[in-house]
Amino acid sequence: MTDYLKYAIDLVAVLLLALGIKGLSKVRSARGANQLAAVAMGLAVIGLLVNYVGVPTFNTQAWSWIVGGSIVGGVLGVITAQRVPMTSMPETVALFNGCGGMSSLLVALAAALEPIALDATGPVALVSIVVSVFVGSITFTGSIVAMAKLQGWLSTPPWMQSRLRHVVNIALAVAALVGAIEMVRTTGGATGLWLLVVASSLLGIGVTLPIGGADMPVVISLLNSYSGVAAAAAGFVVGSQLLVVAGAMVGAAGLILTQVMCNGMNRSLVSVLFGGALGASSSSSAGGGEYTNITSCSVEECALTLEAAERVIIVPGYGLAVAQAQHTLREVTRSLEAAGIDVTYAIHPVAGRMPGHMNVLLAEADVPYEQLKEMDVINPEFPATDVVLVLGANDVVNPQAKTDPNSPLYGMPVLDVQQARTVFVVKRGMSAGYSGIKNDLFDLANTSMVFGDAKKVLGDLLVELKDLGVGK
């Protein structure tokens, strides 16, 4: 009887998980879908516990280890989720993801060390253990490196940017393969197992370390897909179909999401993974040259122009996220709106530190969702716009991407801000963007630079606007 009950619970859980993933891809249903997936996860755990009720080994000792592990992991999870600032979202997702990979790795290790107790004997179980260890290790170390790089704790050592890294990584991959074969050959021999663990862990580091900060979100998304694969492999190890389904779903969905993100950045997955930083080799050859016609202006002039405007478009970028200026920006736009000025936000697909991250940051600062316009929607509106305020964005507003076929940026989708009457670019200095390429926009006659930290400039702008009586 409990068999049927377990099957029923498992089926409902799978259904809810699928609906959860589906719902997460629509704005309207996303929050409910996330809660649905959480409920499904709870159901899956209950289903598993119900299935083992009455089994003699499911005793108080087992319970105490379950409760112990749950409390530590759960409490840390709750604290992390509540404390972490919205600007640190990419590294948080990386951290969580790494821990998921670690979990699969540990279960596979347990099965490799104690195969009889876990019924993980035979070739199928052995191969599943190998896959789970391999993918789990890469997911763990790769995610931790991604997190450390995004936090700025780690930078890429120079030799990692040279070709040498490919040699090292191939050597590590071969070592992992040797370990895997050795482990299968000796039906779970310890030498093969530990070689596999060490080599795949190092491989995870070696593959992730050379990848540039702006490409990191794609890597995290890919690693997220891997952690699904690791979970599915762990499902084979312990004989849980539910685990296999859920892992496979996340693995496949993660792959699609990775592809979608690559498309948004005009990057192929191959060039993200093996190309290293894009600017390093190309900045000197193409798109270089000096700036000849830079106009710098004061915050006061900027405020005067804004006061006279009817339509204003804000282009927020990475620099805004780094300066944490989204709240100050919201105050500025509030006073503009109060003065009857039409304000919208142009969101490039990869604005912020991760696709969709800018939307989260602006939503946190209380910007109405309807004011956020996606690139394809807003691009035709620039010619009819009086003032564009570019805040900490660079490559995504570079007209070169459309005008210069020799530019490395050529073909990347960009916002056509130069078509507006006046463009103000708020920037700390004349340094290049992530691509390391000169931005033709800065040289245009209708562009003025306002130098300074985004948060400071917006704060000053707010004061100037108040002095002018805007929005009173």
Partner: protein, 101 residues
């Protein structure tokens, strides 16, 4: 094991196809929350960790590895769902607030 292995392969295949189909067109707005939500779901290895503990029968290796694994997985699951909810709450609270004004 062998007959159930084929069954498992079917499950793997169908699960992967389902995953490919589920996410067709995602607006960029939702990339971050979707990634974070899918990431929480991948913490479903809690099931594997629980199995290891329950089958341990006093075996210390299984108890310790299972319990640590459970901790990591739950950190992933609970943290992941909560942080996703925090992000999505910001998208959905706007209309409600406007009505209050």
């Amino acid at each position: 094991m062998e007959s159930s292995f084929v069954e498992f392969l079917w499950v793997l295949l169908l699960g992967s196809l389902l995953g490919l189909e589920l996410i067709g067109k995602v607006p960029p707005t939702l990339h971050t929350p979707l990634m974070s939500g899918a990431n929480a779901i991948s913490g479903i290895t809690v099931l594997a960790a629980l199995t290891a503990i329950i089958k341990a029968d006093g075996n210390p290796t299984l108890l310790v590895l299972g319990s640590v694994s459970l901790g990591f997985a739950l950190f992933n699951v609970i943290g992941g769902f909560l942080v996703t909810d925090r992000m999505l709450a910001m998208f959905s609270r706007k209309p409600a607030r406007k009505e209050n004004r």
